[in-house]
Symmetry: C2
Subunit: 292 residues, 2 copies
C-alpha cells in the first residue's frame, strides 16, 4: 500500500494507471501533474487524480510512488525536474514504449537516485489518447515488460513487480536492448507501416474514395494509424536504428512476394502466404492466464 | 422468394450465404456442391445445405438462383461446368474479391447466358475459412459491391440487389475496373503487407520470440495475415497490376517516413504521422445505417 502516487502525465496511460491503483486499493492519494493545466484539471474533475500539482516537482513531493506517463522524449526533462525530491525508498516507474533511451536519460539525470527507477513498458494502449479515454481496465490481463539495469535496486524492482501483478498484469523481465529489438519488430514497425499506408492511399487522386469502400480488414489493419502523433514521433525516433533495420527486412519480404506475383508464380506465392497464415493463425496474444 | 439455391462452394462465404438466405425466408431448398465431398457432407450435417450434389452441374440443375463462392481462379471452370443448365431467368452471382478476372471468365464461358451473371463482392469475411466458420450474420449490415457489365440483364441485376438488401446489406454499383482499383489499395495491399510482415519477422533468428511479446496492436494489424492462402494467392494474382502499382506507392510512402527518421527530422515526421492519424481517426467503416 502506497501513501501517495505522484503522477507525471495524466493522459490515457497515466490516468488509467491512477484509476487501477485506486480500485485495487494500492494508493491513498494521487497527486497529478500534466504539461497542460486543463488536462490536470479535467483529471481531477473526473476523479482520476485527487490533487492538482502545479509542477512535476510538487507532484513528486511526498510521493512514495512516482509514475511517468509522458512521451518518451520528455523523460529526461521530467527526471531533472523531480530528482531533488526523490527519496531512497521512492519507487519511480515509467510506461514508455522504448527503453534504451529512457534508461539513458535516467543515467544522465537521476545520479544517486538511479536505483529507484524501474523502467516499465505495459503492452497495452488505445488509439485514442487523453484523460477522457482513461480506462480502469486498461492494464488488466496485459503483459508488462520490466527492463532493470545493473544499478536498479532490488527492493524497488520487487515493489514494481508486485504493483503490476496486483493490477492483474503478467510481468516479464528483459534487458532494455532486448526489449527495443523485439518491439521494433512487433510494434514500432507495424505503426510505421500503418502511417505509411494511410498516407500512400490518401495521397492518391481517388484515395479518399477508395477508403470509403474499405471493410473490416482495413479497419483492423489501420487502427493503430490513428495513434497519437507526438508520442509515436518520439518512439520512432528513439528506436530508430532497430526500427530501420526491421523496415529494411520488411521491404525485402514485400519485394519477394511482389516478385512472385509479377512472375505469376502461384505455387511459390501460395507457399509464402501459407507460411504467414499458419504462423499468424497459431499465434496467441500474451496475457495473464488467471486474471482478467 | 426462390425455389432452389445452387451453391457452388460450401465454405465460409457460401455457407454463410445459404444460412442467411434460409433465415430470411428467401429460398426453399439449398443444393450444395464443394470440390471436397467431405465439405459438402459436413455442410449438410450442419444444416447449411439441404441436399448434397455430386457435381457443380447437378447443384445448378433446377436452381433459380446460383451462388459461386469459390477461389476466383476456379470461376472459369465452374462456369463451364454449369452453363448447360442455366436458364434464361436464372440469377447467377459470385462473391469474388476481384471482379475484372471474374467478368472476363464469364465472357469467355457463359456465352448467351452472360446476362444472367451479376458479379458481386460482399465486403465481409473472417480470417478463418471453411464451413465450420459459416455465420448467419456474416453479411448483415455490410456493403456489397455489384459490378454489372453492359450485357448484364436488368431483371437479374434488380433481383441481385433485392437479395442483398433483404440480407441487410448496403448495395453499391460500380465498374469492375473501379472496383479492382479501389480494393487493390484498401484490401489486397493490406493483405500483402500483412503476409510480408509475418514472413519478415518469422524469418529472423529471434522472430518467434519477438512475436510472443506482441500486444493488441500487432494482433489487430496482423489478423488478416491468417487468411486462406489459396484464396489470397488467387486474388493477388488476379489483380496483380493494380496491386503492384499500389505496392510501389506504398514503398515510397514508407521510404519517405524512413528518411525523416534517419535524418531525425522530428517536425516533419510528426506532421506526416499527424496527417495519417487524423485521416484514420475520422474514417468510418461503410455499413448500412438502418440494419444490423
Amino acid at each position: 500500500m502506497f501513501e501517495q502516487l505522484g503522477l507525471i502525465g495524466c493522459g490515457l496511460m497515466g490516468g488509467s494507471f491512477a484509476l487501477a491503483m485506486k480500485r485495487a486499493g494500492l494508493v491513498k492519494r494521487v497527486v497529478g501533474y500534466s504539461k497542460s493545466p486543463s488536462t490536470t484539471e479535467r483529471a481531477r474533475q473526473m476523479g482520476v487524480i485527487d490533487v492538482e500539482a502545479p509542477s512535476a516537482l510538487l507532484a513528486v513531493s511526498g510521493a512514495d510512488i512516482v509514475m511517468l506517463a509522458i512521451p518518451v522524449s520528455a523523460t529526461e526533462a521530467s527526471f531533472k525536474a523531480i530528482r531533488h525530491l526523490v527519496g531512497p525508498k521512492t519507487l519511480i516507474m515509467d510506461v514508455g514504449s522504448t527503453k534504451r533511451d529512457v534508461v539513458d536519460a535516467a543515467r544522465r539525470t537521476l545520479k544517486e537516485h538511479l536505483g529507484c527507477f524501474v523502467p516499465c513498458h505495459p503492452i497495452t494502449g488505445k488509439e485514442m489518447s487523453g484523460v477522457e479515454s482513461a480506462d480502469v481496465d486498461l492494464y488488466a490481463g496485459k503483459q508488462v515488460i520490466i527492463t532493470p539495469i545493473e544499478r536498479t535496486l532490488t527492493a524497488q524492482l520487487q515493489k514494481a513487480s508486485e504493483v503490476w501483478t496486483a493490477l492483474g498484469c503478467h510481468v516479464l523481465k528483459m534487458s532494455p536492448q532486448a526489449h527495443d529489438a523485439a518491439y521494433a519488430a512487433v510494434s514500432h514497425l507495424p505503426h510505421l507501416i500503418a502511417f505509411a499506408l494511410i498516407n500512400s492511399i490518401a495521397g492518391q487522386e481517388n484515395g479518399m474514395n477508395y477508403m470509403s469502400l474499405a471493410g473490416p480488414g482495413f479497419r483492423d489493419f489501420t487502427r493503430i494509424a490513428a495513434s497519437d502523433p507526438k508520442m509515436w514521433r518520439d518512439i520512432l525516433l528513439a528506436n530508430r536504428e532497430e526500427l530501420l533495420t526491421q523496415s529494411q527486412m520488411f521491404h525485402k519480404a514485400l519485394e519477394k512476394l511482389e516478385d512472385l506475383i509479377s512472375r505469376s508464380n502461384g505455387d511459390a506465392l501460395e507457399t509464402q502466404i501459407g507460411q504467414a497464415s499458419d504462423i499468424r493463425a497459431n499465434w496467441r496474444i500474451a496475457s495473464h492466464p488467471h486474471k482478467r
